[in-house]
Assembly symmetry: C2
Homo-oligomer: 416 residues x 2
């Protein structure tokens, strides 16, 4: 008998019929003897509907009140799912985040979980109940409701699994696992049976949208065995089949994994590149350039500073395309003169392509294979950034698919 | 500077535009120097939508989970109203019942408020904030959300006003006050400027739907000055005009009130009458007859037991028409033989018409005027029940309008 956490996305909770299917699936697990905690998202479209009402009133609604409003979507979901579980003959009880409690900081609309008290939930599980807990939200030290931001229910589920010392956290979604790359771009993309936590972390940060990155961080920090699998299967498929489906995020590099040098090709379109050129190279210059951009709440991704020539340097970085115009405006009007830059140049149409794999650590030549492959396709590399287990390059956006397909092929990701 | 509680119904909160109007009205009061607490209902239709989802899953959803679901409607309303108040340039904060906290018992879907801790709300008011609190709900001793039942937001508002020792509680609704009778039945019906708490209590219990009866009980118990007024007026009408509009529920019978013998004619259609006839008259017989009916959760209204003749008596009572068939079935199949009744007879088409007024206490002849008037119209009285300030009669339903109009005229309710 294990303690299992299930998480279901908004599509899986999208209608009364689908909620009943979720209940059937959970009942199957419960009847097999497992203690079950379920974390559903809001019904698909509901969070957007609620935020839309708030934005109809004013363009910049107060974040604290937005969380008050948006958190109700999950509260409706847990109540409906509990009722559907009753209809399956199970004892079930639902809790909002504040009732558990799931404690967060006070960064409304993007709060972070600080602590979860599992006492109440454990008592219910010991009494044979299925416990249904709202995703996406918790309660701050002042007793205000705070939400975790988009995709936050993944994080809720993994954090609850960590707090309850669950045996496994199953993230049910509308894809059947983590792929070597996006199957819509590369037909031969293959589902991975396993992926390490570090690879998953890189994939999430590099634009693979399967899991919210903070949920992966939680899984890593607390070593939560996490599986991504499909909610679109027949809810009554045999438990043994379901337990081995999808992609498992692991914490040990086992034998089979060492054989795979590269696990996947991630990519992120909608990037923009900005270069501040001919800047006097002196201490504090990076902060003087990036500080005003960060102050405007613009996320900065890759950063490169060239070796200085004649006491001057070029400073290049990327931002999301949606922030491009605002970042250019800040740099041109506020920063350029202040740092005595010669010019500010930008390209709003770039994308980032990355190869990811723990095998990289013990293999040389990955970078050279990657660069050679792109060169053979005539693709110019604009920026490079690397970590222990990934190499990312910035390229012209129009070559994204070509690059991804070529790299998928050269690293033999289509072969099991 | 006074402390004022406003309550707005679902129609007043029915759209973003209407919510903005509520905010404008509240802002007008706040700018006049008053400390403001606002209790909005869910947007019209929302509670029904939510309960509908639950009933799509199963015919008899768990009440605890229903409350989890239904309470979200008001939570959305308070967030939206707080945002609309911000847009009016006010500081405002919203709270769900559990955040205040508003403490209730655990009778889910029909909970009663046991205590309200006003500390947090008072601190916000002292800081110049408008405080927006969910109606309809609170939190039980175990930390579960419990709702107060249909119309519960009236009760929330009056209870909050009592706990905060508010100077006045204004119930904004889609009628402009309490009338001498239903204006849809009697064209000459007149709005009352004042009505005593006791009269209001009788009116509410006799079918006048302006306020939930428990809100009137609260107003009486804690002597909350409560005013019923229209939310359909221009939100920017002068405060002085608005403060004198609607109907005030008072606790003292002032001079003007003594002059009015009768304040209103209330009526309740959809009643049904049941008679258990020829029952041996012995101790405990009332309980033996009504116990099984009450056990089936059927509310019993008027009850009459005739003087016994030859050791036998007739036992007559009324129930809501929706419960008539079930009550008849219980009496015929379970009770009749057990209590050795000769027969069980029923009439599902009766209505109750009542005259209400504190002036009745010091005036004789009200009952005879009422009975004479009905006799002159050829209306047979089936049952009579009286209290200190009301006389109710049961009549054939088809005479309802005729009776109400005749009584409205004879007691001169059309004259100010």
């Amino acid at each position: 008998m294990a303690l299992i956490v299930h998480k279901y996305g908004g599509t899986s909770m999208g209608s009364v019929e689908r909620i009943k299917n979720v209940a059937r699936r959970v009942a199957k697990w419960h009847k097999a003897g497992h203690k079950m905690v379920v974390v559903p998202s809001a019904m698909s479209g509901e969070t957007n509907r609620l935020l839309g009402l708030a934005r109809e009133i004013t363009a910049n609604p107060d974040p604290r009140e937005l969380d008050m409003i948006a958190s109700t979507g999950e509260q409706v979901s847990v109540g409906l799912l509990a009722i559907a579980l009753h209809a399956e003959g199970l004892e079930a009880v639902s809790y909002a985040g504040w009732q558990v409690p799931i404690k967060t900081d006070s960064a409304f609309t993007k709060a972070r979980i600080s602590d979860i008290d599992g006492t109440r939930v454990l008592a219910d599980l010991d009494a044979g109940k299925v416990v249904v807990i709202t995703g996406f939200q918790g309660v701050d030290p002042e007793g205000h409701i705070a939400t975790l931001g988009r995709g936050g229910s993944d994080t809720s589920a993994v954090a609850i699994a960590a707090a309850m010392k669950a045996d496994e956290c199953l993230i049910y979604t509308d894809v059947d696992g983590v792929y070597t790359t996006d199957p819509r771009v590369v037909e031969e993309a293959r589902r991975l049976d396993r992926v390490t936590f570090e690879e998953m972390l890189e994939m999430a940060s590099l634009g693979s949208k399967v899991l919210q990155i903070r949920s992966v961080e939680f899984a890593g920090k607390y070593q939560v065995k996490t599986r991504v699998l499909s909610s679109l299967t027949d809810p009554m498929i045999p438990l043994e089949t379901e337990m081995r489906s999808g992609t498992l995020i692991t914490f040990e590099e086992d034998e089979t994994m060492e054989k795979a040098v590269i696990s996947g090709i991630a990519f992120q379109r909608d990037e923009a590149r900005i270069a501040v050129m001919g800047v006097p190279d002196k201490p504090g210059i990076a902060y003087q350039i990036l500080g005003p951009v960060a102050d405007a709440n613009i996320d900065i991704d890759m950063i490169i500073q060239n070796t200085s020539v004649d006491g001057k340097t070029d400073f290049t970085f990327t931002v999301g395309r949606g922030d491009y115009a605002r970042a250019m405006e800040i740099l041109t009007n506020q920063v350029k003169e202040h740092v005595k830059a010669e010019q500010v140049r930008g390209d709003p149409k770039v994308s980032k392509v990355s190869v990811v794999g723990v095998g990289m650590r013990s293999h040389v030549g990955i970078a050279s294979t990657m660069f050679r492959t792109l060169a053979e396709e005539g693709i110019n590399i604009q920026m490079i950034s690397t970590s222990e287990i990934k190499i990312s390059v910035l390229i012209d956006e129009k070559y994204t698919e070509l690059a991804v397909r070529a790299l998928h092929k050269v690293f033999e990701l289509d072969r099991a």
